[in-house]
Every structure is written in structure tokens, then in C-alpha cells.
């Protein structure tokens, strides 16, 4: 799975996710990536793209959950990402990337690693695989 989340200079957020799914999957299987609110979500606060165990991400509506805890619990982006990865995945393994309308960027995962990169306007740039 691949994904990208962006907040532009106007503070507008957007998310995109694309995948081939699982190796040896049944034909007709649909994972989390095309499901708005599960693998992909964006609103006026935040944009999120997920990857990992699709069925677990669907059960937890993971992407929307990040936005929800920001809206209803008042968490900031990093707190929201940590919270959903730790409390919403049950036994599932997954990761996500997110940006907020304020120009923050965050990623979280409970797998061994996640191929990821991020950058911000103030010059921060990071590419990583492991924790």
C-alpha cells in the first residue's frame, strides 16, 4: 500500500491511498484502502492514510478515528495518532501517516516498521523504515 497526506499553505488537508491488497487474496476482496473513514480520511482538521492489516483497519475505522479523537477529545495530532494506534487496533497490526491543518505531521505504527517520509515548510525532512 502507498499513501500521501498533505496540508497546503491555505491549511487545506487531503489524503490519498492506493494498493494492490494482499498477496494470495481472494478475488473480489476489498480492503481498507478504498474505504473512506477506514484507510483514508480528510476533513478540515486533519488528513490520514493507513496501511497494514486491512480487516483490522476496517473494524477500527482507523483514519476517521484520528479525526474523531481530535474533534471530541481535543487531542493534538501526535496524541491522536498515538492514541488510535495503541487503543483502537486490538490485535491488529497497522500504521498511518497524518497531517493537521496547523502544519503538523505525524506517523504511528505497531508493526516492526513502516516505509515512510515526511517534510514540513520549516525545513524538516525525515525518511525512515524502523522506529
Amino acid at each position: 500500500t502507498v499513501g500521501c497526506v498533505v496540508v497546503d499553505k491555505q491549511g487545506h488537508c487531503a489524503a490519498a491511498t492506493s494498493t494492490g491488497g494482499l498477496m494470495n487474496k481472494m478475488t473480489g476482496r476489498i480492503g481498507d484502502s478504498p474505504l473512506i473513514g477506514s484507510g483514508t480520511y480528510a476533513c478540515d482538521l486533519v488528513a490520514v492514510s493507513c496501511t497494514g492489516e486491512g480487516e483490522a483497519i476496517i473494524r477500527s475505522t482507523l483514519a476517521r478515528e484520528v479525526a474523531a479523537v481530535m474533534e471530541y477529545k481535543g487531542l493534538n495530532l501526535h496524541e491522536a495518532v498515538d492514541y488510535v494506534i495503541k487503543t483502537r487496533l486490538d490485535e491488529g497490526k497497522a500504521g498511518l501517516i497524518a497531517v493537521s491543518k496547523n502544519g503538523e505531521v505525524a506517523c504511528g505504527f505497531n508493526t516492526t516498521g513502516m516505509f515512510r517520509g515526511c517534510a514540513t515548510e520549516d525545513g524538516f525532512l525525515e525518511v525512515g523504515v524502523w522506529e
Binding site: 494492490g20 484502502s33 480520511y41 497531517v99 516505509f115 515548510e121 523504515v129
Partner: protein
């Protein structure tokens, strides 16, 4: 307003014994995609245009599991899916079951922009793609030699594998599985491809 920001991913669930050269290859691709996104943002492209642009690049490169390089079904074919969402008005578009659309994310964008719907799948999505004139390719275009080998391993293990793109056959086969005690979904982590 905090300025622009961008993040990209190429899947989670990385094989702990992933060779260094494969890690570096992945980092190079992620860096290239970040650079494309950064340039677009500096040129004042909107967030929705930038996410589509960057994901198209990731779909076109066979390294990760999307577009060319997608995981294979039990029949050895490729069925792709994608979605896109624009935050300000919560507009969204999604597609599933694509077999010939070169860049699924752009078809998802067209669903969002050109239809009254949010999600098209399988034959209907392919028909919409033809009507929109998007670039189509044979299903074989998406199938890589590495993935054919991984499907063979998956069938031998009688398991469904997460979309491990990067591991070589020697790192995701049965012997590696025996050496590695980490498990995901009840299966050795080395049997998975990082999604």
C-alpha cells in the same frame, strides 16, 4: 496557519531482516516522492492535487504494493483499489477491483470530481475509466517477477500475505519464517510483505 506539510508511506509490516540495499532503495523512492510533493507545494498546488501527483508516482514505480508491483490474487491477477479525500468539503472518491487502469488514484479522483457517487467498483469502475479516457494497460503490466515468486510462496504456505513488496524470496520464504519468532495475525512476520 502553520505552513505546508507532507507525509508519504510505502506500507507497514517490514521484514526485520530486510537487506540494507532494499531499505536504501525504498528510502530513495520515498525521498524522490517527497521532493515531487515539496516542489508542487512550493508552486502553490492545492493539497488534493499534490496527494494525487505523489501517489501516481508511487503507483508507477514497482517497488511498493500499488499500481505496477501490486500484490497478486489467488489467481495470479492484479485487482487494485484506491481512494482520495479532500478535507475542506469532505469530498471523496474511491475505486476497487481495477485490472487495467494504470493509475487507480486518478480514477478515484475522477469519481470524486465527475460523478455524483463516492465509490465505483469492478466492471462499473472499468467502464467509467474507459468513458473518461484514462490510460489503460494490460493486467500483465502490473505483475512483477518478484510478486509471482511471492505468490508461489504464499500458496506453498497456504496463507494470505500482507503486501510485502521489498523482501527478496530468500527473506520471505519458509526458512526465514522458521528463524523469525515475531508473529502477525498468527503467522510468522517473515511470511508477510509490509503493507
Amino acid at each position: 496557519m502553520g505552513g505546508w506539510a507532507i507525509a508519504v508511506h510505502g506500507g507497514a509490516g517490514v521484514d526485520p531482516i530486510l537487506p540494507n540495499e532494499r531499505q536504501e532503495e525504498a528510502k530513495r523512492l520515498l525521498t524522490r516522492c517527497l521532493d515531487i510533493g515539496i516542489s508542487a507545494l512550493r508552486s502553490n498546488l492545492s493539497a488534493i492535487d499534490v496527494v494525487e501527483l505523489v501517489v501516481r508516482e508511487l503507483e508507477t514505480d514497482p517497488l511498493f504494493n500499488s499500481g505496477r508491483g501490486s500484490a497478486l490474487t489467488e489467481k495470479g491477477t492484479v485487482e487494485m483499489e484506491a481512494s482520495i479525500m479532500d478535507g475542506p468539503k469532505r469530498r471523496c472518491g474511491a475505486v476497487s477491483g481495477l485490472t487495467t487502469v494504470k493509475n487507480p488514484i486518478s480514477l478515484a479522483r475522477l469519481v470524486m470530481d465527475k460523478t455524483p457517487h463516492s465509490y465505483l467498483g469492478f466492471a462499473g469502475a472499468e467502464e467509467f475509466a474507459r468513458k473518461q479516457g484514462v490510460e489503460l494497460v494490460d493486467n500483465e503490466y502490473f505483475i512483477t517477477e518478484d510478486n509471482v515468486g511471492m505468490l508461489k510462496l504464499a500458496k506453498e504456505a497456504n496463507s494470505i500475505l500482507f503486501d510485502y513488496r521489498i523482501p527478496t524470496l530468500t527473506t520471505c520464504g519458509g526458512s526465514a519464517a522458521m528463524e523469525n519468532q515475531l508473529q502477525m495475525n498468527g503467522l510468522p512476520i517473515s511470511l508477510y510483505a509490509p503493507e
